[in-house]
Every structure is written in C-alpha cells, then in structure tokens.
Symmetry: D2
Subunit: 372 residues, 4 copies
C-alpha cells in the first residue's frame, strides 16, 4: 500500500505521467517549522541537473502546500503537498504498451493490474514517485531536529568505483554534498562523473552502493520484536525502486568474523555508556543505544539501456527484441540515495514519536490557558 508509518504517517500518490504526484503527512506535531524553501531545497538535492546523464528530464519541481501549515508552522493537521508533473513525454511509451521492459516493474504491474496499468514512464513504479517521499522526509527531518538527530549519506561505490575511506564525523559526511557527486573523495567524484558519461555513451547503465549515517540517536528507538529499528529501516530501504540489498554496520562482513572480532566493546564515553567501535552500525538488539546509526544499501543499475533486450509482447505472447530509445538516468543511485535519506528520516521520526521522545501535542497549551 502507499501508506507508511504508525504515528508519523505518510501517504504518497501519483504516477510519472499523471497530473501530479504528492504526499499527505499526518502526525506532525504542532509548531514544527515547515518551510516551503526547505522542502524545495531537499527536492533540489535529488535533481543532479548539473550531471546531465543523471537526469535528462531535469524537471524543476513546482510544489504547493495544500494544508496543515499556517504561518510557517505545522498546525497538527495532515500536511498535503503536491508537485505538478510538467515535462512528461508520453508519446514514446505508446510502442511499449504490453511490452514490458526487462528489469523494470512493468511486467509485475501488468500481471497485477492488467490492462488498467498506466505504464507511461513506469507509472506508479517510476523513481519520480520518490520525490513525494523526499517532501515527507524533509518534514520528518524537522521533527527529528527537536531531538537533535540529523541524517546524511554518501555514495561509497558507483559503477565499480569505490571510496574506502570513512567519515570522521557527521559533518564530514554531509560535506560530501558540496562535490558534484556526494562522495567522500573529491577525485573519485570526478572520476565517477567521467565514468557515467562514458557508460551513457555506450548506452549502458551502472548501479552503486550508498551509506547512510546519522548523528547520535537517543536510546530507546525501535520496538521488540518485529518493529526493531533495523527491521523498519531495512523495509524502508528496500521499498525504494532499484534497491536490492541492505546491511548494517559491517554487514555481510560480520558473517565472516568471529564473535571475538565482531562484538563492539561497551565503554564509558563522555559520561554516558556507549560503544568503543561501530561494527554493529550503532544498534544493539536492533534498537538505538545513543550511538550514530550507519548502514549501506545496494542499488542495481538502471534497467533502461539502449541495447537490445529480450522481452515478450503480452498481447501476442511472443518473444521479441526491444531497444529503449527514450531518455534515462545512467544511474539511479544518486537519486535513490536522496530517497533513502528521506525514508530514514521518516522511520526515525515515526519511532521517536512512538517512543514518546517527541511531543505530539502542544505541551504548553493547557498550561498556557491556566497561566494566563
């Protein structure tokens, strides 16, 4: 379903080539500052218009807040935001009707929704849908600011190019966004752009791996046994188009280590209890313990390529060759990273509110009346 969350709730809607995409965010505490400019800036992060092969559509986002905000603050009611679709070019998709593109969601949607599926631009399965999540993520980010939590991320691997260094601080991680691609190594970022241009010229595409990091997350987030933070973050990550894997801390490497190597020592630091290393990614038992959280997500290469591929014409049930000639992003990984950061914020905001760490009502309202 297109509904997500328990206390901080999100409902997204919209198809790639429909009139608009949008989101309803429910449960935002009254008083949270909601700034149209801030939302626009988060959406801007997802554009990568300066790297043309990453976003040939490069549609400037035209947002409108329809409800839930007054004088720059949340009023406690659902916040609805819509983004009009302006640059959809649907003509090309006529010839793709009932001819699912390999690697795309097309086939799944035809099988689930039949002839009613809106396949243009991938319809509901388009990466464009994630723009609505980014709006919700921007609002969630404002909720998280109340408990001092910030979320960032960067690309650690793109088309085979890896950055093995790790950020010394949250600020260094966030600093990656000053480069043309959010990578911790400036030279690698430039090499990556050259690589992307070359791959695009070959009509091919690449995938990548990204890492999300947070500042310290207060202990107590995550609910045993099913709604552990690691479980909900994994769901959020894998709900993003193209995501194919997630790992926390050292992840799959931990499976090859011994207990004596894998455990993070428990130590006293800065007057509080914490971990002496971060192999676990900052979680224990899947719950937050006051440490920064760190996890990685793998995205497969963009399924759209300009090389011939085998598919089936579903109306005739015959195999045939298909060659995509429309515009496509040579890698969805950078945009997906922005969606992942948004989803991480949504999950953390929801858990913080569920755990009662963020106020849900105007704490002072009743008292204000009394004091007056």
């Amino acid at each position: 379903m297109s509904f997500f969350g328990r206390v901080f709730r999100v409902a997204t809607f919209g198809e790639s080539h429909g009139p608009a995409i949008g989101v309803v965010v429910d449960g935002v505490p009254p008083g949270v500052p909601i700034d149209e400019e801030h939302i626009r800036k988060e959406l801007q992060r997802r554009m990568f218009c300066h790297v043309r092969v990453l976003n040939p559509r490069c549609e400037p986002e035209e947002i409108e807040i329809l409800s839930g905000v007054k004088d720059g603050h949340a009023i406690g009611s659902p916040i609805a935001v819509i983004i009009r679709n302006r640059r959809a070019v649907s003509d090309y998709y006529k010839e793709l009707w009932m001819r699912p593109r390999p690697g795309h969601a097309d086939l799944a949607y035809y099988l689930k929704y039949g002839a009613y599926h809106d396949h243009r631009g991938g319809g509901r399965a388009s990466g464009r849908e994630t723009a609505a999540r980014i709006v919700a993520g921007a609002i969630a980010g404002k909720v998280l600011e109340e408990i001092g939590v910030r979320v960032s991320g960067y690309i650690v691997e793109l088309g085979g190019l890896r950055v093995s260094s790790r950020p010394a601080s949250y600020e260094e991680a966030e600093g990656a966004w000053e480069r043309p691609l959010p990578m911790l190594d400036g030279d690698m970022a430039e090499a990556a752009i050259n690589m992307l241009v070359k791959v695009a010229s070959e009509g091919d595409s690449v995938g990548g791996v990204v890492e999300v990091v947070t500042t310290e997350v207060p202990p107590g987030l995550g609910e045993p046994v099913f709604d552990k933070l690691k479980a909900d973050l994994a769901k959020a990550a894998l709900s993003i188009p193209s995501a194919v894997g997630v790992e926390f801390g050292y992840g799959f490497q931990l499976a090859r280590m011994r207990g004596s190597e894998a455990n993070d020592p428990i130590v006293v630091k800065g007057g509080r209890v914490g971990l002496g290393s971060d192999r676990s990614g900052g979680l224990l038992g899947g719950l937050s313990i006051g440490e920064p959280i760190r996890f990685r997500v793998a995205f497969k290469p963009t399924p759209s390529i300009r090389k011939p591929q085998r598919t089936v014409d579903l109306t005739r049930m015959e195999e045939e060759e298909i060659t995509f000639s429309g515009r496509y992003d040579v890698s969805t990984t950078p945009k997906a990273l922005v969606a992942l950061i948004a989803m991480t914020r949504i999950v953390l905001a929801d858990h913080a509110m569920l755990a009662g760490l963020v106020r849900r009502t105007a704490r002072s309202a009743y008292r204000r009346s009394e004091d007056a």
Copy 2:
C-alpha cells in the same frame, strides 16, 4: 489520525480556510469505473443550496483528480482528489481567536494544538472536511457495486419533527432524495423546511436523527471480535462532526424488550436462510448475514447560534459573552447524513475487500497473458 481503513484506505486533509481539502484513496481495485461527474453529483447532494438556511456558503465544488485514474477507470494506484476552497471568509474569525465557541471543537483544538491551531471556520474540525469523505465514499460506492451493495439514508427526525413510517424497499428510501429534504414523508419535508427557516430567523439551530439503509449485504462482512461490522460502523458514524449517538435496528428500544420479543426469527426466504423481522438491523454477532443493514445516528444542533453564550478568553483566562454573527447552517443534520452514507460505504468496501469478496488485482491479467 486522518487515516482510515485497512485494505480500502482513506487519508483526508485540509482545513476549512486553507487552499484546499482533499483525499487519497488507496486499495481501489484496478478497473473500477471512476467518473468525475459521479463524484461531483455526490458532492452536490451535500450542498442543499436550495434551502438557503442550510448552506449560506453554498460553495460550488471544484474537484480535480490528481492520480490513480486513467481513461475513466482506477488503475490500482492511490486516487488523489482535491477540492479548492474558494469562498472562505476569514475576516470574521479574527475576533474569535482564543475565544472558543461553545459546543464547537475550538476549545479541544486549542488545548491539543495550542497557538498553532488554525481556528478559521473551525479549521480541520469544520464540517467542510466531510466533503473529502464524500469523494472517498463515492469511490467506495463503485467498489460496492461489484457485489451489488448500495447504501442510502434519510432523515427520520429534524428539530423535533418525526417521520415514523419505514421504507418498504431500498428504492423507496432512495426516493426520499427527490424531495427538498430527504425524508420519507413529503408533507413532513415541507414542514421541516418551514421549521428550519423559522429557527434560523430566531438565530437558533436544531439537530436530528437519520437512518441508513442498505440493500442486502452478502454474509461474512465484519471480523470477530473487535472489528465487527457494527463496531466499525459505529466508529465511522461517531467520527462525523456533531454525531452524538448511534443505534442498530431497534437500538435503545431493544434494551426495553424481552428476549422473546427482541429476537428475529430465522427463516427460509427465497431459497436462502434469513431473518423474519429486522429488529436487529440485519446483523447477528455484529456480522452481516445477507440481510439489509439498518442503523440510526443522532446529530446535535449546530453549535453556532446568534444568541449570546458564555465562553472564556483563553489569553486572559476570563469569562465573557460571545455572540456569533457569521453565517452558519441552521442544522448540520442533512449534510451529516450525506457524510454518514459515505462513511458507511467506506466501511463496507473495506470489509468486503478484507473478507476477499471483492477482487484486489486484475484477476484476468495473468490468464490474459497466458491465453494471448
């Protein structure tokens, strides 16, 4: 929260004096016909513009479908519909800031949301919010048509005027809508309009009681033990502004009857098992059994009146007198009935889908591919 339903899901948004109200409806099966005209007509039912004292604002609804529909059919994705607010007159509300109107939700919202509350026109608590439910109800009605279920209703009591006759059929019930007020007795409908004009001239308001009826509902709707149909219908009814009570079948009267009088005999009719009377309202154990469902809801009088009332200025915490001078509906009962019919449809559609009585996916899709 502003989210409702399990499989057929609804999220509404919007304040009375904000840019727009709207709704996202998720879970609509692909292929359900969605007709803008049909939605508009359902919204029109709520207007009662021909009875000026019932709707001085009389805002023509300007709807826009933003997603989930292609070529007049649901595609399986969330359907988002917005209705712009055009005729909001906010100036009057300046002097009501922090001075809650008795009987209204104002005080509750000030206490819950503090100074961030948008009090203009009642904000989120306005009856206007129910227009979004009516859109969702219109869509739910189309889902219910797949299993032959229709929902109607009429006013049984308004400002003390009662209609004691009962409809012999669903069609007779629906026929009430051809009168200026949906009542089963045409003379009473006219008397009611005269009464409303008189009450309005006195600056006062009235409440009423309405009855909802359905055609036969297939057995199996409702889930023991908490999500009984009677329980979910009661919640839906009481979620409507001004609703103060609900009763199924003979309701409170049943509490005064003996078991030997209250039980409906179980009989064979038309080749199937059914009930010989309908004291229970067509439910047993709170679940549907193949009979029409019938229940009543009481609505209190419009809290807005033109007579002085006592309230408290929350900024000074001092009692004072307040006299409302803006426009108001002399009775919210007729509009509330339309919202109640919509909510009933939403609940029944949700339960029908939960029980697997309505297909969720394109049943033929997979086969179509195979057969082609």
Copy 3:
C-alpha cells in the same frame, strides 16, 4: 480481527468450550504494577455469582500470567494471561449443530466459517471471551493511574426499571458496586434482582442500559478526524456482544434540543478552562478537554430463552422450532457493563500513550546510567 489498539495493543483468543481463553497485551510501559490479585478482583466483578440467574455457570477464574511481568511489574514486553475453561458443558450443544439460535451470532458464524465453526457455547462469540478483555482492561487501568484517570460505570436501566438520578461524583458512581447490582439507587437494585428472578422463572430475558463515567481526563486525547475519542469509544462499546447502541452525554436527546439549549457554556473553574454543564458528555470535537467523560450503551436481552422460537436447520434448509434448555444468563447487561468499563480503559490508555501523555520507556533508565 481479534487485535485492538495502536500503542497499547490487545490480542484476545479462545472459545467458550476450548481449553482456555486469553489475552496478549503489548505496549505496557515498564514499571507499571501488575498484580495477579488485582486482575482476579476485576474478573470477580464480572461473576455476579451472588445472583444465580445472572451466572448459572459461575466458573471461578483460574488465571496464569505467562510473560511480561517480573517482581510485580511490567517489564515492557507483551503480557500474556490465560484463563482455563473448566466448567464447559458441551453435550447439550450437540443438538444445536447447524441449528442457529435466534438472536445469537450462530447464523453469522455458520455463514462465515461454515462447518468449521465451533458452535459450542457460542464458541468465539460467547460472552466468555470478554473475560480476556477484562484482564486487558485491568492492566489498562494501571496505565491510566499514571495520569490519574479512573473509569467506573453503573446500570441505569434493566428490564424496564430505570434509575434517573445521576452521581454527584466519581466516588458515588463507584460506590454503586457495593450493592448486589451496580445501580445508583439501592431500592431499585433490590427491585431489579426480584425482577430478574421473575423473568428467569418465565424462561425469558431482559436487556438494559448502562452508563460509563470517568474522572477528569486530561485534554488532548483523541485524534482528528477519524480516531476521535468518541469514535473509538463507540467502536469499543459496539464490539461487545449484545451492544446495540451508544450515546454520548445527552445523546439522542440532544437531537431534539436547540443549539441554545444544547451547548455547554465554557467557564473558568478551579483555575482552568472547562465546561459549565455536561450535556456533551465531556468531549468537544470528539476530543477530551479535561472534563470527565460520560456515555451510555444499550444492550439487548439475552437471546437465549426457554420459549420456542423459529429457526432453520441449515443441513436440510428447513424451518423448525427450537427451545433452548441449557443454562443462560437472564440478562447479560451486568457482565457487559464490566466488559465496557474494561474496553473504555483500553481505549483511554491507548490514546493516552498515542498522545504521549504516558511514558513508553524507562525515562530514567538512560539518566540512571549516567548518574550512577
């Protein structure tokens, strides 16, 4: 479904003639005192063994806490409690197989679950299931104590006998439980018992109306627009077997009043804002405002009677007469009242936790570590 609640969650299980009934309560904050004796006492309230016609089965409840409690306190994990069924007498039910008792849930269950239905003693639809809710309600009551909220109730009408007086205080309401039947008028309670004995001797049954009252409920409980407190309380009430109606405050009477009569004035009392009367039942906009909450629920007469009634043998699809000869409660209203009080506590605890008014985690835990 048998799952209820959002943050304070309840799952019940068990059939009347199965090995046991029970409940899992999730979301109980760590540290809440859980006392087996307290639970047993609440269950005892439901017995009415001193009025033999009200409970011929009179089964002493044998409870066992299986999890979630250590040293008399909740540990934060789900609390599972089971109650063994000991006195089920199933033989009688053999002849009722596929012959649904009028007024009972039997027919609905046969239609929904077919030949797999366990019809003995009503199976899952038995009033016995509510014993599990009472366990959950006892735990919810302990959660509510953290914010000073208590819930009580009394019978206002039984078999046509009414008590019209109203309690001057919560304590007076609770005091009704010192009588053989929880009524505000001692003479009426005795008259009611005589009436019950007489009705039982006639092989008939009676229904009744009960009222629930609370101490002051802090403002902010209830979530616009669908999860209003009045909506969730209505659902909870109508989820109880035999419940046929609910009304808040003056309820259906309000529908016959004018706005100038119905509105509660807003006043200053005891330094805070509140209402000068309680026609609304202590809610505005369906949300709590710091006032006590008051609502009524109607229960139909016990469907089981010793008079011949018409039913259908579903295996032969033929009408026939049935006369129940097993034990039955002459009125389910007293037991239902206890279940209603429990459900009210569950709803209020859930909303209090959802609104963040009750801590969900060990607030001091982290600090304790720091301070040590």
Copy 4:
C-alpha cells in the same frame, strides 16, 4: 511491537526464562489443517540437538494449542499456542545484572526498559523467542499450501566456509535438510561441523549467510509502493536476532554490474511469461511475477563467547572485563535460518491473503446452506 502482519496476523510473547513463550495467530482461514505433529516437527528442525555445540540447552518443546482449532482444522478464530520453558538456568545471570554483554541486546534493553528489564537468558531478546515465530510459520505454511507455495532454505556460508553451488530445484534445496547441517554440499556440511566444534573449543563463535528459496509464487504479491514484497521480506529478515544484512537475487553484486548484464530477459516458458535468468531473485518492482523468490541473509556470530570482553557496570558506571561462562550456541545461524523460513512464510501468507489469493471465509458456507 510484538504484533506483525495485516490480514494473517501474529502476536508473540514470552521471555527466555519466564513460564512460557507463545503466539497468537489471527486470520487463519477456516478449514486450514492444523496438525500438532506438524508444528512439533517444524520446532524440531530448529533444535540441532545432534550438534551439541549448536544447542547445549536442547530443550524438548512442549507445545499446547489453546484455541482456534477443532478436529484438526482452523475454525477461523485466533490460534493460540504456548510452549513452556523448562530448562532455563537462571542462576548464572545474577552476576550479569546491569552488566550488559557486548554484542547482545542487553544494553539496549537496559536503556529502554530500565531496571524492569528481565535480563535472564536475554529475556525477550533471546533467540528462544523465535520458537514462537516457527509455530506461526508452520501455520502460515499450511495457508500457503492452498496456493501451492513452499519455502525452504539452506546455509551458504558458515564461519567462512562457503558453498557456491546453487540448487537446480526446490526439491534439491529442501534435500539439504537430510544432512547434519542444511547445506547443499555434504562434504562441506561435515567440514562445517568440525569447524564448529573447533571454534567452540576455543570459546569463540561464528556467523554465516543463508539463502531462502521458494517454489513459484503467483504474480501479484506485494503492494506498491511501501509494502513491496522485497520490503516486507527485508523487514521480516532483519527482525530476527543477529541478522545484519539481506540481499535479493545477486544483491550487492548487482550494484557492480551494468544494466546490460543485470537485467533478466523476459521470456515465454511453459506457456506463461517469465524470466530467463534469476539475477533479480524472482521479483520485479519488488512484486512477485510467478517466479521462485530467492534472497540471502547474513547473521553475525553469536555475541556470547568465553573470551574476556570490555563492558560497563551500569550501576557504578565503570568499565570492567566480563567473561561469559554459561552455555551458548557456537553459531546462531542454523537456528536463525529456521526462523527466517518461518518469517518468509508469514510474509507470503499475509500478502497472499491481502491480495485476495487465499480465501478468508468458508466460500461454500453460504451456498452449502442454500443447496442443502
């Protein structure tokens, strides 16, 4: 929370050293065969008692079905099953009070639940809790049989030993369970056991990677955009203790491939549309398309080891060394695999019911009555 699922719902309870663990499974369609022996056999799979270092506790599971089953079939009501805890040895844990074991959930629980935490045997965070999931998974497996779906899995990597072969069929995968460890290579299984004994003798522990495979899953499972099958499976997987990563199909490897290499061709096979390879793991757009599903999960080594580790005494807030001397499983991976198979079944059953592919009610019930 300890509640999981939407239509097929599960609630687990119980701590490692409490009276019992258990589960309530709601939403099981009437008529599904529920066999105590079948459940016991699934629990037996998790024991690995023949490999002593894998399960020193080796507690024979004593299960009791308390509700929801009659004559070997589900009746449509919640099925409650409890497993008594018999062999808990709690004495050892006295000295671990407020001294969290590194790598374990201890610290998180102390921080979240404070002094109320039941730390004995890990309390609620113990792997023992997964026995309750296995019961639910066994029931889910019976639901899945109605649509011909089966789920199995095997270890692909343990303590650094890898099996790189892949099963040619579901049957071959399931055949791995005839070996002492469920691995596709018999020699490797023996080598792994020797390795485990050696690691145990060194007082250390190892992790591993497992793979889950299914038979063909009918198309249409999974709900865009948040409740994709890959998202819900990822959540289910990461909800298991010790899970640190998940990947679908080629997973992280896909991030290093080009689009031209990664896409699975769409082909006609056996008269239906399908995929020519399985790099994607059998999902497109995160939804099922009629192909078998395949994904991997990484588990970290057991945190319990017999080597000194650093921790903090939370009562004194001082660092100290801790050496675990109780019994422990040298690797939790084999047991975790069984839990993962169970969770996979639960997710698939829930989605199949949500998509309407499994009946929820006795389809024939109503007709049976009519036909009789």
